[in-house]
Symmetry: C2
Subunit: 264 residues, 2 copies
């Protein structure tokens, strides 16, 4: 069953294709969670998976606190190669259609100031670790990330390298985006329609819904008599603060309204 | 900070220690989910973790449907050793204080009637797999379980073997237990108190709360002037049906009431 191609805009607009990179997607998913699955190598070389909690250093390196009584804690001193899989909280649909990332690398035991920083990073993400971190059988490990695989859902995936991962920032608005999307659809469908008509060039749009929000812009679906089309509208500048979605969206709505007034 | 030992019962009661075995816990966790993390071996022997959906054969063997375009789908034909980590949906507390299981084994591609059964098992658990299962790059894999590690939370863990895992049943009341526990605490605290006084021997109990329910019985915490104590009360017979918790709990409450009436 072929899906018809979405209709084109009726007025040429500047393409606003800026989106989070694979490295930014990965950093965003890793920053949002503190629970992951660790893959290590058992004595006989068998891959061994186990649930772990983790914190994150400023460069995105995961910090684990592992007991030498557990299989993963016995595996790493023998062979430090490991992968960490972090899954985004799935939405309502197919859970395989949501984000996850695999960080493959080599674990090491930090020392001195790096150990202090690693311990602080782990405790910041896993406050309960306070209860066992001091025990003699627990060791702090840092995973030096060497290879990153991000999957955003069906058909959205990419690999990235250690340098890009370390240099990227988690999206500061990731946590507030689901609420913002729901709020826009419930209370501001007029503003979304303005954006679809003015900024995306669908001058015949009759309705628009928001399907996603990130630091760079909004994803909309515009409804027209010619069919529906996914469009992207971009903020004036990337958002840099956690509570920045509201003002950036207001700016977008004003810009759309001003353009429509000009035309009329 | 030492925790004082809980007070003993005031009347001797038969110890009712029957609980789910590690194999039953593992089967129960695996049966309740369809999303897991797979650990395989990359070309260079590095452990590689990835998110997968799975179904389950009647003996508990996981059935995967993997694309040869994905790293895990390229890894298994080269080295079929793998582990699958399934995590129970965490409760409100520390997520590391909830159940998970690692199934370590060797994957193989089933044939003939076994392939049909595996395909059906996968589709029953992952209806959306219908959309891609027929594509040429997807292959059905069965994980032959060789080693099982169950962790129930802090201090609750055990290993079990392939035979015990295959022979065990998932707990049929696992899905309804959280609702049943909440309902008992909200509307039937008198019945719980009766159970604590009569069946657990805490004749001086002033209140009782239910903290867990499974096919074999209820976990309670009884409050007494001497302190609190965790107790276990066992059903007359293990529950064998998904909606069996209500009648089994009613029987427990009646038994407790009858005992108290006898004494009075």
């Amino acid at each position: 069953m072929a899906t018809p191609a979405p209709p084109p805009p009726l007025r040429e607009v500047e393409r606003t294709a800026r989106r989070r990179s694979a490295a930014e997607e990965a950093r965003t998913i890793v920053a949002a969670a503190n629970l992951a699955t660790l893959a290590t190598l058992s004595r006989d070389g068998h891959p061994w998976g186990s649930l772990v909690s983790y914190g994150t250093l400023p460069d995105g390196s995961p910090v684990l606190c592992l007991s030498s009584l557990a299989e993963h804690g016995r595996n790493l001193p023998r062979d430090a190669r490991a992968s960490l899989v972090v899954a985004a909280t799935p939405g309502d649909g197919d859970p395989l259609d949501s984000g996850r990332v695999t960080l493959a690398g080599t674990a090491y035991v930090p020392e001195g100031i790096e150990l202090e920083n690693a311990r602080d990073a782990h405790l910041a993400a896993v406050p309960g670790a306070d209860a066992y971190m001091g025990y003699g059988d627990f060791t702090i490990w840092v995973l030096r990330v060497e290879r990153v695989r991000w999957v955003g859902g069906f058909g959205r995936m990419d690999s990235t390298n250690a340098e890009a991962y370390a240099a990227a920032e988690p999206d500061p608005v990731a946590a507030s985006a689901p609420y913002a999307v729901a709020h826009l659809n419930e209370d501001h469908d007029d503003a979304l329609l303005d954006m679809g008509r003015a900024l995306a060039g669908y001058t015949d749009a009759t309705a628009a819904r928001c399907t996603g929000a990130d630091r760079y812009g909004l994803d909309l679906v515009v409804h027209t008599p010619r069919g529906r089309a996914p469009v992207r509208v971009e903020f004036a500048a990337p958002i840099t603060v956690a509570n920045g979605l509201r003002s950036a969206t207001v700016e977008l709505a004003r810009r759309a309204q001003a353009q429509l007034a000009e035309v009329a």
